[in-house]
C-alpha cells in the first residue's frame, strides 16, 4: 500500500507539472502577451512598455520565464499581481477562507441530504417517492446553476425578505448566525447538483448490493432490517460514492466561480474572474493551478479511500 501511495503521488505530481507547462504555454501564447492591454493605451509610450516588459521579466525566452515561475511556485513565491502589485499568494490567502467555507458547507449539506434520500429511494424502489426523486434529479441537473440562484434570491430575499440577497456578512456583524444566513442560499446552489448525483449513485449502489447473496443470508439469519441496511448494504455501497465525492471536489471549486458571482461571495472564484478581466496573468495562473491540483489530488484521494474502504482492493 505504501509503495502504491508513493507511486500514485509521484504520478499526480508529474501530471500537475505537465498541466502547469501547458497552461503556462497557453498563457504566453495569448495574442499580444500579458501587456496587450497597454498597447492601445495612448498614455503608455512604447518605451514604457519595454521597461515594464523588462521589469516583469517578459523579455526573456518563455522557458526561462517558466523555470523562474516554477521555482517561485515551489518556493512559496507565486509572483506579484500585475494589477495590484501585491504577492499573489497573499491575495489568495485572503480569499481562501470564504471559498473553503462555501465549499465545505455545500459538501456537508449535500451529504446530509443525499444519504437519506439515496437510502430511502433504494429501500422504496419504484414507489411514487422514488419516481419523484429520480424525476427531480433530472431537473436539478438540467437547471443552470445561476438560474437556480437567481430564483432563490427572487423568492427568499427579494419577495419574502427572509435571507440576505448577497454578500458574506452584514457590515460590522461577525456572528455565526449572520454568516449562516448569508451562507444558506449559496451553499444550496453549489450543493444541489451533488445532492442529485450522490443520491442517485447511492441508490443504484444499494440496489446492486441488496441483490447480493450475503444480504439475503443476513436477512435469513433474522437480523433486524435496520442492521442489515446499515452494516451490510450501506457500508458496501459507500465505495462508489466516495470516488464520486473525490471527483466532485474540483466540480465544487468550478461551481464556486459561478456561485460566488451570483451571491457576491468574496472568495477565490470572484478573484479569478477579476484576474481575467484585469489580464492579471500571475493570478490567473495561480487560480488555474489550484483548480488543477484539486482535480488531480481529488482523483488520488478517491482512489486511496477506495482502497482503504474495500479490503478486497489491494494495489501492488
Amino acid at each position: 500500500m505504501g509503495s502504491y501511495i508513493a507511486k500514485r503521488a509521484i504520478q499526480a505530481g508529474a501530471l500537475l507539472l505537465l498541466v502547469s507547462l501547458v497552461a503556462y504555454a497557453i498563457m504566453n501564447l495569448a495574442p499580444g502577451g500579458p501587456l496587450a492591454v497597454y498597447l492601445h493605451n495612448p498614455q503608455v509610450t512604447p518605451e514604457r512598455i519595454d521597461l515594464l516588459r523588462h521589469q516583469l521579466g517578459l523579455d526573456r525566452p518563455w522557458y526561462v520565464q517558466y523555470a523562474a515561475w516554477l521555482r517561485g511556485l515551489l518556493g512559496g513565491h507565486w509572483g506579484d499581481s500585475y494589477y495590484t502589485g501585491r504577492p499573489v499568494l497573499e491575495m489568495i490567502a485572503e480569499r481562501l477562507p470564504a471559498t473553503i467555507t462555501l465549499m465545505l458547507s455545500a459538501f456537508v449539506l449535500a451529504m446530509a441530504l443525499a444519504f437519506p434520500i439515496g437510502v430511502l429511494a433504494a429501500t422504496h424502489k419504484y414507489s411514487w417517492g422514488d419516481n419523484v426523486l429520480s424525476f427531480g434529479s433530472f431537473f436539478v441537473w438540467a437547471m443552470p446553476a445561476f438560474w437556480f440562484g437567481l430564483m432563490l434570491q427572487m423568492t427568499f430575499a427579494v419577495r419574502w425578505h427572509l435571507l440576505p440577497v448577497a454578500g458574506m456578512h452584514e457590515i460590522g456583524d461577525t456572528s455565526a448566525g449572520d454568516l449562516l444566513r448569508h451562507l444558506l442560499m449559496p451553499a444550496a446552489v453549489l450543493g444541489v447538483g451533488s445532492v442529485a448525483s450522490w443520491s442517485r449513485y447511492l441508490r443504484s449502489g444499494m440496489l446492486e448490493v441488496l441483490g447480493q447473496d450475503y444480504v439475503r443470508t443476513a436477512f435469513a439469519k433474522g437480523l433486524p432490517r435496520r442492521r442489515v441496511l446499515n452494516r451490510h448494504v450501506l457500508r458496501n455501497s459507500l465505495i462508489p460514492i466516495v470516488t464520486i465525492m473525490g471527483l466532485d471536489l474540483s466540480v465544487l471549486f468550478s461551481g464556486a466561480v459561478i456561485t460566488e458571482s451570483i451571491f457576491g461571495w468574496p472568495g477565490l472564484g470572484r478573484l479569478f474572474l477579476a484576474a481575467l478581466n484585469n489580464r492579471d496573468y500571475p493570478l490567473q495562473m495561480a487560480g488555474l493551478m489550484i483548480s488543477a491540483a484539486l482535480l488531480i489530488f481529488g482523483n488520488l484521494l478517491a482512489d486511496l479511500t477506495y482502497a482503504a474502504l474495500d479490503p478486497r482492493i489491494r494495489y501492488g
Binding site: L15, L16, L18, V19, V22, A23, I26, M27, A30, P31, F135, F138, F139, W141, A142, M143, P144, A145, F146, W147, L150, M151, Q153, M154, V158, S250, F253, S254, V257, I258, S261, F272, L273, L276, N277, R279, Q284, G287, L288, S291, A292, L294, L295, I296
Partner: protein, 297 residues
Amino acid sequence: MNSRALAPAGPVAAPSGQGLWSLAWARFRRHRMALVGLAVLALVAGSAVLAPAITPYSPTALDPDHSLAAPSRQHLLGTDDLGRDEFSRVVYGGRVSLLVGLTAMLVGSAIGVVLGSVAGYAGGWVDTLVMRLVDLMLSFPAIFLLLILINWTGGRAPVLMMIAYLGLFGWTGLARIVRAEYLTLRAREFVEEARAMGARAPRIIFRHILPNAMAPILVQAAFAVAGAILAEAALDFLGFGLPPDIPTWGNLLTQAEDYITNNPVLAVAPGIVITLTVVAVFFVGDALRDALDVRTR
C-alpha cells in the same frame, strides 16, 4: 434497412429479421417521458426554425415607451429594459442556443470518434498517446481553461469560436467510449473477414466497425448537446459567453438579473425554457440508452 450496405458482415441486423432501428424504436416508445421529451424538443426546435413566422416582433426592435412591461396580450412574456419583446427574444435565443449546442456536439463528436476509433483499432503507441492526451485534458479544470482561452480575445467569444472551444473540451468522454467499443469490435470475425479481403485500415475503421459502434455514440451525443447548451449559458452568465447583443438563453437570463424586482418574468421564462429543453434531452438520451441497449458505465 440500408445499414446492411454499410456493414457487410456486421452483426447489425437483429436475429428476428426486424431491423435494429425498428426494434429500438419499439423499446424507445415504452418510455413515456422520452416521448414527452421528444415533443418538447420538437416544439423548441420547430419554433427556433420558424422564429420569424411565429414571433410578433423583431427580437431587437426597441420600444423604450413600453420597457419592462408585464406580460400581456401584446407581449406574451412582457418586455425587457429596452422595450424588446421577451417572447420573441426567447424564441430567437433558442436558435442560437440550440445551434451552438448541436454544432459543438458535432465538433466534439467528430474529434472523439476519430481519435477514439483510431486509438482502439490501432492499439499500441497510438492508443497510449491518445489516452494520455485524454488524461491530460481531463486534468484541466475545463471551465478555468475555457475562461482563459476566451479571455485571450477580449472576453467575449464570437459564435464560431464558442462552438470550436466547446467542441474542443467535449470529446474526451466519447473518445474513451468509442475506444472501448473498438477494442472489443476489432477482434470480431467481420473485421477479420474485411481485413482478409484486403480492406485498408481507414475503410475498416469507418465503414465496417463504426456502424456497429453507433449506439453508444448516439447516446453520448445526446447528452453532449445538453452539456454544451448548459456550458454556453453559464459562460454567458460569467460574462465570457457570446456577445451580449446576441439573444441567447444565457444572455437573456443574465440581463434579467438586474430586473428581478421590476419584472421577474424576464428571469423566470428563459430559465424554464433551458431547463425543460435540457430535461427533454436527458429523457430522450436515457430512453435511447435503454432502447439501443448500451451498457451504462
